[in-house]
């Protein structure tokens, strides 16, 4: 017999999604363990989707339904995670709470944390122990935040809690899954992102893109949200709703970021959000501080595929050999910039979000198969290359806000073997975002020396 509490507790599933036979469903209903509630509620003419929380009436459409032979609403807002029809129901588990196996020593990671990592890790651990608390972990790019989570996760598993690690992007889920499996080999771990069909449904530790949390409700004792400042989480209220709904009412909430938004920073300053800082990278070296370089008529030059003087001089006078990563503001600048850089870099590549070869190009750059990669902001976070210099062309463009600039600067100096790197902001007029980004980096470096 399957472990029903592990399989069903904390989930809101459509009938099609229930991993049960009809006989099992009726048995569970008769024994008061499983209930069903309406999937879309209607109050006079106001509809709400109980799965995604949508109340925007223009995101409900009508369908002449072949199941119930009535014309009724369905929710368009959450269509990618399984259509919700008005005539459907969502499962609610009302049986026993899941009983996660007891583990005396769940963590098998053999590395050691740096002093800064350890201090932060202990605070996160305390939040897990206390429950019903939240904390923001402000760790610079390259601080080694995954390892920093291990003590908190260890405590949670030891206390037989259920844990969720939510991140904005599927590639991060894919990257974290094997690392966590290695660190916690005896814990049931699930990785959920669009397109995973081998989800076991019984994970004690769930690593998921935030979208996938739509199927959970009051499931997790510990909710860790990675990169709270990143797109799409930062922009999408629905995702906040998912994360909130998936956590238990008294859950421990941990937020991770390298570049908190002003809203979070204000909360920290006003002591409304407990925070812990990790101002230093795991290899102990400070963050590279960006250099500002003014170039007249920069935008016109870029559009005309004219090599900016500052970039030319920089490339000609570079002495240390590193790969070069150049950021541009928009896709249509990729080609002009590529064409004027070919004199110096006969082998180069360009990459953007919808590039069909994106993965291969990034892999090849990491394998040092070529020396220059020109990219849009898609490589601003998440990716690490061991030894690169970074240049932003037109750093004053609106796509480069403070968070983006700090993240981009954080691409340099990631490896202990080459812990520094040049970061150049080439611009045609200094912006507030540039000034603030440099200030933020300097502040963190100062904190790191303390």
């Amino acid at each position: 017999m399957p472990n029903y509490p592990q399989l069903l507790a904390g989930k809101q599933l459509l009938l099609d999604e229930l991993p049960l036979t009809e006989a099992e469903i009726s048995t569970l209903q008769e024994t008061n363990q499983l209930q069903f509630k309406e999937a879309i509620s209607k109050k006079t003419f106001h509809y709400q989707c109980k799965r995604c929380g949508n109340t925007k009436q223009h995101l409900f459409a009508t369908i002449p339904c072949a199941r119930c032979n009535q014309t009724h609403h369905y929710c368009r807002n959450c269509i990618t995670t399984g259509r919700v029809l008005f005539c459907e129901t969502l499962s609610v588990w009302i049986g026993q709470a899941p009983d996660w196996p007891h583990q005396e020593q769940p963590c098998h990671w053999e590395g050691t944390l740096t002093k800064a990592q350890r201090q932060a890790a202990e605070k996160l651990q305390a939040v897990v122990r206390a429950a019903n608390q939240e904390i923001l972990c402000w760790a610079v790019c390259g601080a080694g935040k995954t390892e920093m989570l291990f003590p908190a996760i260890t405590t949670a598993i030891h206390e037989q809690m259920r844990i969720c690690l939510a991140t904005p992007r599927a590639d991060v889920v894919r990257e974290l899954y094997p690392r966590l499996k290695q660190a916690f080999p005896h814990t049931e771990i699930e990785a959920l992102y669009g397109g995973t069909e081998d989800a076991t449904g019984i994970g004690q530790l769930v690593i998921a893109t935030t979208h996938q949390l739509i199927r959970y409700s009051e499931a997790f004792d510990v909710m860790i949200i990675d990169e709270i400042d990143a797109f799409p989480y930062h922009h999408d209220k629905t995702l906040h709703y998912f994360a909130h709904k998936a956590a238990k009412k008294d859950a421990a909430n941990i937020y991770l970021t390298a570049t908190p938004r002003p809203k979070e920073r204000r909360k920290i300053e006003m002591n409304k959000l407990p925070a812990v800082f990790v101002p230093i990278r795991f290899h102990g070296h400070p963050l590279p501080v960006p250099k500002l370089m003014l170039e007249w008529n920069l935008r016109r030059k870029l559009q005309n595929a004219q090599l900016p003087k500052k970039l030319k001089r920089y490339v000609e006078t570079r002495t240390i050999y590193r790969q070069l990563l150049i950021f541009v503001s928009t896709i249509n600048l990729l080609e002009p910039v590529a064409s004027c850089c070919r004199v110096f870099f006969p082998k180069l590549e360009t990459v953007y979000a919808e590039d069909p070869d994106r993965k291969e190009k990034v892999e090849a750059f990491r394998a040092k198969e070529y020396d220059l990669l020109i990219t849009t902001t898609i490589l601003e976070r998440g990716v690490t290359f061991p030894s690169i210099d970074v240049v932003i062309l037109d750093a004053g463009h609106t796509v480069f806000d403070e968070a983006a600039l700090v993240q981009i600067a954080g691409r340099a100096g990631r490896s202990p073997k080459d812990p520094t790197g040049d970061v150049l902001f080439i611009h045609q007029g200094k912006t507030e975002a540039m000034v603030q980004a440099i200030r933020q980096i300097n502040q963190m470096n100062k904190k790191g020396r303390e």
């Binding site: 459409a61 369908i63 072949a66 369905y74 259509r83």
Partner: protein
């Protein structure tokens, strides 16, 4: 608020002479998506309507024409769009994810292509390709029905759902490999013979197998001529 049914971006209403004087019709398709629609224009295979260099018979159709069982079951097929990544995304959204409403954005294209192809044939009956009961329940709509009913609404053609598609459950069927079943067994049965010419309606003409099976079922039941019309070829 007006949002594009296909890409979800909000639509800035364009003022034209048409809607300047009339009430603006609700726009459901943005300009970017309009540009991406792969309208199927001639030349194409004169039989199946596939886009190609000349109005000759394509190689697939040459095979159908020389097949003893299928040589004269289908007069010809016409389609609105060619198959492209954009249309693939559309089908995923509409049919597989079940976002029923999105087809609204393509109705005007559907109707003008239909009128162009079947001009002067108003005596022909529209026959949607049916789904099995299970599939129809899961999807909550039959995409071919939706297309046929929309044409019925705006033309003089009537819809007659005379075909059905029994579920594949018999033990004899399941012993064969999936491939064998696809190639040999005709999945359709005729509920009511049709004496008028018929236009089969479906969302996609890919290999033509489905359309030819349905056409043969109609012909065997006495239907004089069978044509077909699909959204995509």
């Amino acid at each position: 608020m007006n949002i594009c049914y296909l890409c979800d971006q909000s639509i800035v209403p364009t003022i034209t002479w048409e809607n300047f004087f009339h009430l603006p019709i609700k726009q459901t398709l943005c300009e970017d998506c309009k540009d991406k629609l792969p309208l199927l224009i001639s030349p194409f295979c004169r039989r199946c309507g596939r886009k190609q260099e000349a109005e000759t018979l394509c190689t697939d159709c040459a095979k159908w024409e020389s097949h003893p069982d299928y040589e004269d079951v289908l007069k010809w097929n016409r389609a609105v769009f060619t198959y492209s990544p954009f249309m693939q995304d559309f089908i995923t959204k509409w049919k597989f994810r079940g976002d029923y409403i999105v087809i609204d954005a393509l109705f005007s294209y559907l109707l003008s292509a239909f009128r162009h192809a079947f001009d002067g044939m108003s005596h022909a009956t529209l026959v949607p390709i049916p789904l099995t009961k299970e599939r129809q329940h899961q999807r909550a709509f039959n995409q071919a029905d939706v297309l046929a009913k929309q044409i019925e609404k705006r033309t003089n053609h009537a819809v007659m759902p005379v075909l059905s598609r029994p579920s594949v459950t018999s033990s004899k069927q399941s012993k064969k490999s999936r491939k064998e079943r696809m190639e040999t067994a005709n999945p359709f049965s005729l509920d009511q013979p049709l004496q008028t010419p018929a236009i089969l309606v479906d969302d996609i003409y890919t290999t033509g197998m489905t359309i030819h099976h349905a056409a043969k079922t109609l012909k065997d039941g006495g239907c004089p001529e069978v044509y077909s019309f699909t959204l995509i070829r």
